[in-house]
Symmetry: C2
Subunit: 491 residues, 2 copies
């Protein structure tokens, strides 16, 4: 087939890179660090988008669109934001090209220099809060519950498809509230939306928690997060929701008149997930044969492949295939019938395995005689025969089963790779590999967190929400601690 | 109310600008020429997107995503493309900011200069064809039917909200074919998709035609277009579909092996519509009271406003309103119930009129007694009473009527502002105003077209498809002509 992947055991990172390309999800481009998302990969992203967008709207949000470019001076307005951000970004300095007087190409017109440079947005808090200033005068104008689907650019030095690219697609919610309580509740609601989506639709179990001071978003008072575990034992941050306090309102002077007639600064949140979720999806479920997709995100949940010799046999099989396809569609299943005669069945089997189509139905001449089809599950690679008359009702049930089992399998993997550790020796040895989630005591200081990272490359992924309080001693310093936090190596 | 608009007659351009802002569609931003699309405006754009996207998929296309940045050298590869494009665009020259050693702000890090400048895409033919080179080896890989929803940047000097902004949102289809015939058929199919959508959903009648050499897209062999007429008699190009021949395949060396084993260059099309459609929508239907929306694009088709004194009366009205709302939703109507006590009914009436909600239902205490509601049509500003029991069936019918009547009204306007002209004197006088579409003879030369534009500012909007052949003499030069073409002043 020529499509064999490097195995996960052999080289996990290489396996991932090969899978992304061979399954037609994405590829690198001529622009350093920017990817092309291919049609099949984008179809999965569209399903992620559509499902999330529906959840955002059900929780009262509307979409809007803000400019791609942000004046450079805006980044200086919120001090902690510029500290944590805005260093590695794409800078627009000119607005015109001209013919090269010395050649046949084009050069930048030196006379078309911008007075103030523009930054391609790495995130949009500053431009959005500069706009909210116009939208908010009174408590009647609040809350503002707005989301934006957009591309953003962060000039990353080491890039990997989906996981870390200089340009990526995301959504960023930016909300404005009259009270602190309401803003915190919003940040928590959106964390709920994310975790429900990631668990129910992507079939990826997540830990819900808050970040430490050191890992918090630049400009936030609290960063809520969901953390997933990949099959190599590394953690991946799948989404964040920030309570921003009044920092951006103060930086952009956004006040409102209260019901009582006083003037107060507005409270803010922001929250986002990105095409990074595609990386999480791939690395949670897939195997050495390629992608495994949860049925809820599969561009087609079922592919039907005819096994035939000659046009006459194909015609007979097509009658059955098209009937089954229609019945399945009527029951809400997305189906593709691949009757191309340019590719052989073996090639097709391999391709759909690589691309993670949850269920493959093969129909050959013997099936015509017996009134059966062969059903193959992508996730378990098991095959069985099924009566044609059962297909339309049995397949939707099977798809639901696959969805649930993928989640359970990932959950079991996470449980098997989570442990509590109480001594630094054990911690240090464990962290030489990627041990999964390590629950350990920490003294609560940034200094210790930094030291642990320096010594082991492990970071505190989160302090779980509703964490059990438990007295103990910091794994590194022995100082008193009131709870365990979750350490891991991370993407 | 403080919301009165300048009238169209008084100042059409000012009317437009005020309407866009006051109806909460869009506003200017801190970045020159870039707009903020506000939630209400964006909700309309989302409906445009969703409907078009469905049509693209029904005609076999898939979405993908290509990089925002294009290496400068790509623009030089297709000679006619760079000639017509790529001069006024945003240029990224650096990838890092640093703290200003002399102050508290940030400056561009001079050491972080890119080796080759990157252009923010003004359109994506070049980067996409550079990618298609990887995708296409054999006839089995064709056709490629891909679309991208994206933001693009063209550094416009004079900008207007939706009509001409430095950044705008659009979709760009880019297809690759084995034969010339297939590529031409694709370009024509997409023109059909556009014109059907614009007429049936946006209720805007369009002329379908091809552009002259002078107005053709840079790099195209044929540019198909749809042209709409605004209420000021000016034309607006609502969409274009280009047959690109083998120009981009040659520029990026994209060949394929035919069934017969020979190597040939691939044939191409590209096609696009943008947020400019929002401008067309506004200027086709709206009046001096604000926006008028065709029901198929309205974020909510019906708004219910309670007229009440005190909580008790509001509660009674709400029982009826919520029942009607549910019944309407069950019949596929989108409804908003505005029971906010922070705003008075008069303010709400005015606001929904400004925002173009097609049908307003008011319910007061007398309606409770009589079992009626007051129904107001936004397009005709007529009001009538309706039995509550009829609402759920009568309103969907009314919405369909409004949709059809808006189209018919616009079509009549266009017919009333279309004429044939045979003498230069008449043509020149007419063009001192915005006369609508003028069908006149033209000698077919670019020189004459340019001269007419110079003298009158009128351009040839299109040569209509299936144009009637008719011998005549060029309006300017008197040279022989075989058909009339459509002149107008244009946005």
């Amino acid at each position: 087939m020529g499509k064999h992947l490097t195995s996960r055991e052999q080289d996990y990172s290489k396996w991932y890179n090969e899978l992304v390309v061979k399954a037609d999800l994405a590829q690198t481009s001529a622009v350093r660090g920017a990817m092309v998302i291919k049609p099949y990969g984008f179809a999965i992203w569209e399903r992620i988008q559509a499902d999330l967008d529906k959840r955002f709207k059900e929780t009262g949000h509307m979409n809007a669109y803000f400019p791609l470019f942000i004046p450079k001076s805006y980044f200086s307005k919120e001090a902690s934001h510029v500290e944590g951000f805005a260093k590695e970004c794409a800078v627009v300095t000119h607005y015109r090209l001209m013919d090269d007087p010395n050649g046949s190409g084009v050069i930048v017109d030196p006379s078309a220099k911008l007075e103030e440079e523009l930054i391609v947005r790495p995130t949009s808090e500053t431009i959005i809060w500069n706009t909210y200033k116009d939208w908010i005068q009174s408590y009647r104008d609040l809350p503002i519950l707005v989301n934006q689907w957009a591309n953003v650019v962060r000039w990353e030095m080491r890039t990997r498809l989906f996981l870390r690219t200089s340009e990526f697609l995301w959504q960023e919610g930016h909300t404005a509230h009259a009270t602190k309580q309401e803003a915190i509740a919003e940040a928590e609601t959106m964390l709920d939306v994310y975790s429900t989506f990631v668990e129910e639709v992507m079939a990826i179990p997540v830990l819900r928690g808050v970040k430490t001071d050191g890992e918090r978003f630049a400009g936030a008072l609290e960063t809520y997060c969901i953390e997933a575990m990949m099959q190599d034992g590394k953690a991946l941050q799948a989404g964040t929701s920030h309570f921003l306090g009044q920092n951006f309102a103060k930086a952009f002077d956004v006040k409102f008149q209260t019901k009582e007639g006083t003037q107060e600064y507005v409270w803010a949140t922001s929250w986002g997930v990105s095409t990074r979720l595609m990386g999480a999806l791939i690395m949670t479920h897939s195997d050495d044969n390629g992608l495994i997709l949860p049925p809820k995100l599969a561009p087609y949940q079922v592919v039907i492949v005819p096994i035939y010799k000659g046009q006459e046999q194909l015609d007979e099989i097509s009658v059955v295939a098209e009937k089954l396809m229609q019945e399945l569609r009527d029951n809400g299943v997305t189906v593709k019938y691949d009757n191309r005669d340019t590719h052989k069945p073996g090639w097709k089997f391999n391709q759909y395995e690589l691309q993670g189509v949850p269920v493959r139905i093969a129909i050959g001449p013997k099936d015509l005689e017996k009134g059966t089809v062969e059903v193959a599950r992508r996730d378990t690679l098991t095959k069985s025969f099924m009566d044609q008359s059962e297909v339309s009702t049995a397949i939707p049930v099977l798809l639901d089963e696959i969805q649930v089992e993928l989640f359970e399998k990932a959950l079991k993997f996470r449980d098997d790779h989570s442990q509590t550790v109480d001594t630094w020796e054990e911690f240090e040895i464990l962290m030489k590999n990627n041990p999964g989630f390590v629950h350990a005591h920490w003294d609560g200081t940034q200094e210790t967190e930094d030291k642990i990272k320096e010594l082991t490359k492990a970071t505190i992924r989160c302090i779980p929400l509703n964490n059990k309080l438990e007295e103990g001693k910091c794994i590194l310093t022995g100082q008193p601690s009131i709870q365990r936090v979750v350490f891991a190596k991370a993407y």
